[in-house]
């Protein structure tokens, strides 16, 4: 095996939503769990998020949103990832996404959605367990 690379995670806040408490807590918890975490701050456009993912060569993207704009923003992010041929990045989301939207978002390619009450431990375990195998070229 090659030298072990740390899991690289981008935590991103799309749209105008300013509730960053959850995103920051998750970023810190993943970092404490030994991952390399990039947090780009508030109000990122889908284009900025995908560009950062590309530049930073991340394995995972965590999207945090509580504003209700997920139905507009998530599909745009996923479409741009596809366009950049970055579909091997695992994308999960956290925040407030109503039950009836969850399956629709998962169909689009969001792997998991963590709602209120999720522990940071659950997210860490999920990432470790479901991390896609990527070419380490």
């Amino acid at each position: 095996m090659q030298n072990e690379r740390k899991i690289r995670v981008l935590i991103a806040k799309p749209g105008l939503d300013s509730h960053d408490r959850g995103a920051k807590v998750v970023a810190r918890a993943l970092r404490d769990a030994g991952m390399e975490v990039i947090y780009t701050g508030l109000r990122q456009t889908p284009e900025q998020i995908v560009e950062t993912a590309l530049q930073e060569d991340v394995d995972v993207i965590g999207l945090s949103i509580l504003s209700g704009a997920h139905k507009t923003l998530f599909p745009r992010i996923l479409k741009l990832l596809k366009k950049q041929d970055l579909t091997d990045i695992m994308v999960f989301a956290g925040g407030i996404v109503p039950e009836e939207d969850v399956s629709e978002m998962k169909k689009l390619g969001i792997k998991e959605i963590f709602g209120p009450g999720t522990t940071t431990e659950e997210i860490i375990q999920y990432v470790n367990k479901n991390l896609p195998k990527r070419d380490q070229s």
């Binding site: 749209g15 939503d17 960053d20 408490r21 704009a69 507009t72 407030i96 209120p116």
Partner: protein
């Protein structure tokens, strides 16, 4: 720099009116020691205690038992006094809720102006006594509804207001001389206040009669709510413009509501919420005095906004300490003479971040306890959260329960029959003192740092809050803190018996059509002229309120007005602190 006299905060042994007799205290100490050596060990041996140490969220160690010993230094007249008088800890009014209840004000707004207008009328019909407007994200960020950044967010988290036309629709049929209105708006507060004033003018309500509040607390945006448009210095300038303008022209308007609520929701503990909020208040007093206004000209219109979280006693102590600390600061640091400059009037909202998505009806119990603490803490105005708000914007049914909770406390609980009923409790007074002392330490620290803007630029507030919020989450994750229904007492399969509000998906489309129509119909040249004037006024560093009102009345849009100031002031770039 002088803050408040430490010795008057750390109450020294009272000469005249100490609540307890000195001789009795030594007798009491002996009795307590006896109890600790005889009765207590038996109980501890038998069943132990649930935890090694008990702490509140503010990291204060809570004693097993409080007795007169813990408040032996309290001098009744100096430290507690009487309601309606300095230091106002027992309440800002002499009769408090025996005179009248607090204002029951439910924060609401969604979809188009016309839709929110319907909700306002519903709430007023159900007995609400004041309006409180929630704006959507694009409005809060100073964008029109057609700005690309706002796609998917128009009317979602609040009501979309892009111009005076929208404000006219929002307030249609609501007499502005009869209701007071609170607007949760900061970056573009001057523009939204301008629109409100313009609608008042249309209704023929004189400006002396317009009553309400603009949140207009830009400092906390940089480390709490994080909806900043401009860099901190021009933002404080805009906040100060409104304070100055209201002092001169809108005597019944509260120009700012200095807000701890968002600081708390961002993850701060009660003590940090208290200290940082008070510090923001200090900064606005200084910036307004720097305009040449005397403290007694404006300080009585400053108002505050706090959260009420889960720990009933910690919150109660915070509210009471806040009033006394502010009174002392106004008197000792700013040399206010008018007692009304020293009173802290507050609005309280029960804490949104305590609401759980699991077993949502439990939130009614949480909200009740939080609201009860706010009432016993002497609030002037209250918003109770709806039980479904961890899931969506509240439904009408859930809002009604929330409002009824306040009405039950007001009419049925007995909490409103006497003033400040928990005063004198050994625990409450000891905790109130500790809250105040530790807040003074924080204030000193920020003073030493060079003030609030420096503390923001250094990331001090941000780091303090991030650490507290992470700590709180770890406690829950490790089950050292039980949240009922979330990490304990869970149910296997969550049933979802409640019906959630879905914002009309056509609201965005409708709003965009409204905006296009406005832009077609208005006199574009006239609007542009006012925008040019505004730019010149901003470059000359004048008070911008008059020119903003002119632009509003010419139907320049919110986005256009904010864009002019973006050009002059630049945009804030977030300092990221994890």
């Amino acid at each position: 720099m002088l803050t408040v006299n430490q010795s008057s905060v750390r109450a020294t042994v009272g000469q005249k009116m100490s609540m307890v007799d000195k001789n009795k205290i030594s007798q009491l100490r002996k009795e307590r020691e006896r109890w600790e050596q005889t009765t207590l060990p038996k109980w501890i041996k038998q069943s132990g205690e649930r935890k090694k140490e008990f702490k509140n969220t503010s990291n204060m160690l809570i004693n097993r038992l409080y007795t007169p010993e813990d408040i032996k230094a309290v001098d009744y007249i100096r430290d507690l006094g009487f309601p309606g008088e300095y230091p106002f800890i027992r309440g800002v009014h002499a009769t408090m809720y025996r005179g009248r209840f607090w204002t029951m004000r439910q924060f609401s707004g969604f979809g188009t102006a016309a839709q929110t207008n319907q909700r306002f009328k519903y709430l007023l019909k159900e007995g609400e006594t004041g309006l409180s407007i929630a704006f959507d994200y694009p409005t809060i960020m100073g964008y029109d509804s057609d700005h690309p950044m706002g796609k998917g967010e128009v009317g979602v988290c609040g009501v979309a207001i892009s111009s005076l036309k929208d404000m006219e629709d929002l307030l249609g049929g609501i007499p502005l001389d009869k209701v007071t209105t609170s607007m949760t708006i900061n970056g573009p507060a001057a523009m939204l206040l301008g629109m409100y004033v313009a609608v008042g003018d249309q209704q023929g309500v004189s400006r002396e009669k317009l009553g309400g509040t603009t949140q207009n607390d830009n400092l906390k945006e940089y480390f709490a709510q994080k909806l900043c448009i401009y860099p901190p210095k021009p933002a404080v300038k805009l906040t100060t413009d409104i304070i100055e303008y209201c002092t001169r022209h809108l005597p019944r308007w509260n120009p700012t509501s200095i807000s701890g609520y968002h600081i708390r929701e961002a993850g701060a503990n009660a003590l940090q919420e208290l200290a940082f909020t008070i510090y923001d208040g200090i900064t606005y007093v200084e910036s307004t005095m720097a305009r040449g206004l005397k403290v007694d000209d404006f300080a009585q219109r400053l108002s505050f906004f706090f959260a009420s979280h889960n720990d009933f006693f910690e919150e109660l102590a915070k509210f009471r300490a806040a009033r006394r600390l502010w009174a002392k600061l106004m008197k000792e640091r700013f040399h206010a003479k008018d007692p009304r400059s020293m009173w802290m009037r507050m609005h309280v909202q029960t804490s949104g971040c305590t609401l759980t998505a699991q077993q949502p009806l439990n939130n009614i119990a949480r909200t009740t306890i939080q609201a009860f603490s706010a009432v016993l803490g002497g609030t002037q105005s209250l918003h109770t959260n709806s039980f479904d708000e961890a899931l969506a914007l509240p439904s009408e049914n859930a809002v009604r329960v929330a409002l009824r909770t306040q009405q039950i406390i007001a009419h049925e609980s007995g909490a409103t029959t006497t003033v400040d009923p928990l005063a004198g409790s050994y625990y409450v007074e000891a905790l109130t003192n500790e809250m105040e002392e530790k807040a003074v330490e924080y204030i000193q620290k920020v003073d030493d740092m060079g003030g609030a803007i420096v503390a923001i630029e250094k990331g001090f507030f941000q780091k303090e809050i991030a650490d507290s919020s992470y700590k709180y989450q770890r406690e829950i994750d490790e089950k050292r803190r039980v949240i009922v229904g979330v990490n304990d007492y869970e149910i296997e399969k969550e049933e979802n018996p409640i019906e959630l509000l879905r914002v009309d998906p056509n609201a965005e489309k409708e709003q965009l059509a409204n905006l296009q129509k406005l832009k077609r119909k208005r006199d574009r040249g006239a609007a542009e002229k006012t925008l040019d004037k505004l730019q010149r006024s901003a470059e000359k560093d004048e008070n911008l309120m008059p020119t903003i009102i002119e632009a509003i009345k010419a139907y320049a849009t919110l986005g256009e007005i904010c864009e002019v100031l973006r050009k002059v002031y630049g945009e804030y770039k977030e300092l990221i602190v994890i």
